[in-house]
Symmetry: C2
Amino acid sequence: MVPPLSENAFHETYPSVSFHNRKQTTVYVAKLSSVRIKDQLQPSVGNPASNMNPTDTGMARLTLSDADAQVRRWLADEVHKLGCNLQIDQMGNMFAQQTGHLKSSVPMIAMGSHLDTQPRGGRYDGILGVMASLEVLRTMKENGYQTAFDVGLVNWTNEEGARFPKSMCSSGVWAGATPIQQAWDLRDIHDSNVTLRSELERHGFLGDIPCSATEGVALGAHFELHIEQGPILVESGRSLGVVQGAQGYRWLTFTVQGRDAHTGTTPLSARQDPLLAASKMIAASNAVAKRHGALASTGVIKVPSNASTNTVASEVTFTLDIRHPRDRVVQTVQEECLESFAAIAREDGKGVKFDWTLDTDSAATQFDSGCIEAVRMAAEALVGKEKCVDMTSGAGHDSVYTSRWCPTTMIFVPCRDGVSHHPEEYCRQEDCALGTQALLEAVIHYDRFISDRK
Amino acid sequence: MVPPLSENAFHETYPSVSFHNRKQTTVYVAKLSSVRIKDQLQPSVGNPASNMNPTDTGMARLTLSDADAQVRRWLADEVHKLGCNLQIDQMGNMFAQQTGHLKSSVPMIAMGSHLDTQPRGGRYDGILGVMASLEVLRTMKENGYQTAFDVGLVNWTNEEGARFPKSMCSSGVWAGATPIQQAWDLRDIHDSNVTLRSELERHGFLGDIPCSATEGVALGAHFELHIEQGPILVESGRSLGVVQGAQGYRWLTFTVQGRDAHTGTTPLSARQDPLLAASKMIAASNAVAKRHGALASTGVIKVPSNASTNTVASEVTFTLDIRHPRDRVVQTVQEECLESFAAIAREDGKGVKFDWTLDTDSAATQFDSGCIEAVRMAAEALVGKEKCVDMTSGAGHDSVYTSRWCPTTMIFVPCRDGVSHHPEEYCRQEDCALGTQALLEAVIHYDRFISDRK
């Protein structure tokens, strides 16, 4: 278990990270030395996963669990203390709004992410983005800095889809991609009597406001700070990722059918061995992806429960996850995989049959050039050009949905070994603070861009 | 469900199979037209598996179940009717003995197999061998034919190992390969309160005679008629397999360890993907086996239960079953697999680690040349040389254990599509009768060989 940092210990960690003597925007926002991101490092809110080493930082805070309700109430208190207007929509999304000095009716520049985690998740994925947003609002308030337009934060409900199985669930409803009834009807994977809606009601987070970009709380922009969840920043020694968009991806499930047969009595030439064929298919998909600079991954493979050492399996299913920043490449990789799978199915023994289903098809996303520019300016000023890198998000995020309706981008910070969705997920305190400072400054830049434009 | 054949219908099936006008030994044993193998085709003894088509012949008769006790009592009645002496040993193995005219103390020439089945098994695997043995004894009796030496049948307990998990269990005890206490202590896989010994006692089949080739019922020879359980006879259009021995085989389990990682954010070059490596290993083991004319099969592969489409698995386990009639080749295939697995583990990304265990190591068995010669003479006389083929048993059988202590061989008959351990397992009535006739004649030949020798 991580010992909760004392206020002093935390401050001692940061003096070396002195963001406050820089010119540019920081003349307006004196410093971030009062960072309270420690709240996010503080495991008292939510149930941290057990069996942790000192730098393990696991968290188990499933969507709309009691622990999630607890952190939501805490967040509501914190934004109220800052004088924000808090709106909660019909999916429980929390929108906290700080009025800008123009008192414009233009929708707010939002910073958002999510507070829910995987059952054995970390304390950075999503959480860092919300806590950093809160810290930005606090820092502005403490320094008497007022943006021109309204700014605020969003806590999106059920990003993980771990308890109610739909990821980026409520930003999807907000963006009109998912009907609200379908989202409300999602059932707890461990207790089918419980729905997402019944838990919203139980905790008092079923708001009145429509969950909709057009009829509910509109956003003028969306900035999301997030751990990279991959090894690129760590391995390249960069500090900040300027995110250009999100990869397209497709999830397919293949079923390979053969015939069960005795392994001792059936010559290789007489077999229809679906596991041998599936193995060759998995290896082939990897070769195809390499050829195109894409990703192809099989995470799940299953044989029937009565499979045994001395029986050729009757059937095998496996998943295939194909990703690339360009949809055209995703399509090409899929086509070439299917061609090579068909050849493999014919090739051995008496041949096997295979079917496939397309389970998810998520198009590639290009983020907003204005938002990206604001992040780039902030990031390069903070750490220098050589410590920044343009990146494409490999994972899905709420920002993918917000980008359909408002200028959006993301900022990535390194996480140890690229590990995420795991209790060992870890982002150094310096990187949390650096990302938060970049978020603060990017929002200020963006606020100025649109002020200048209007 | 197969409608039970009426006595008449059964006899009508067989006239075309007229074995009774042949010369050689059959002058002594007029005919097999009174075949009562129908008992074995008759599903009233034991619980046939459900959902059967007309030619499906499923059987669920787990070792020492009530159904197994019922068929054992029936078998005891039948051999008593023939005037046999029935001995039951401490593993419930049933030895029925018909005295030869020499009244020699030489141990009997036995015909044996087993009456237990897999939970969703067929009605031929094992059962055919015991029913054919009974039919041989009946046919000799009806025709007044007496062998020189004693002949008899054996019903071996728990050959399948499906309920009490050890296959060829009681022939293994008899051969001294398995301590009797270990076999007695085997627990019902569905009810750990029940042991093999407690079920022997409950049904009255715990005999007094030691289960031992040396201190219990000794055997002078062991002939076993069995369905091939593979496609070689069917596909080559042969009728009878003259079995030379049993393949050596080794069962290994491999554990490949990598690191779980997000499929969207982890470049291929940064992965330790155990499922990709395992897939390549399975394909490689097949290539190695092909090169050596051996068999290598993976029946089981497992990823952790929390595996998901968008996560590289942390660990994969898979089984490998290597077989060849020569132990040296089994060893070579294993060595070459291990070499290629090590190369695969190093090859990709950051490399994975793998461990392996040797779970079973069964040496190749060479059957007795005298027994083989007796079967060959019988088989070639019955169907002609071109319809016979020398074979190696791919599966394990009780005969593998008896061959350690007495001259042994087996006779194979075709089964449809090579399917076994499945309700669709099917051996045509003509083939059942042909195999039984071959068994009868082989035993008579063998009895003469040893009479001539002694």
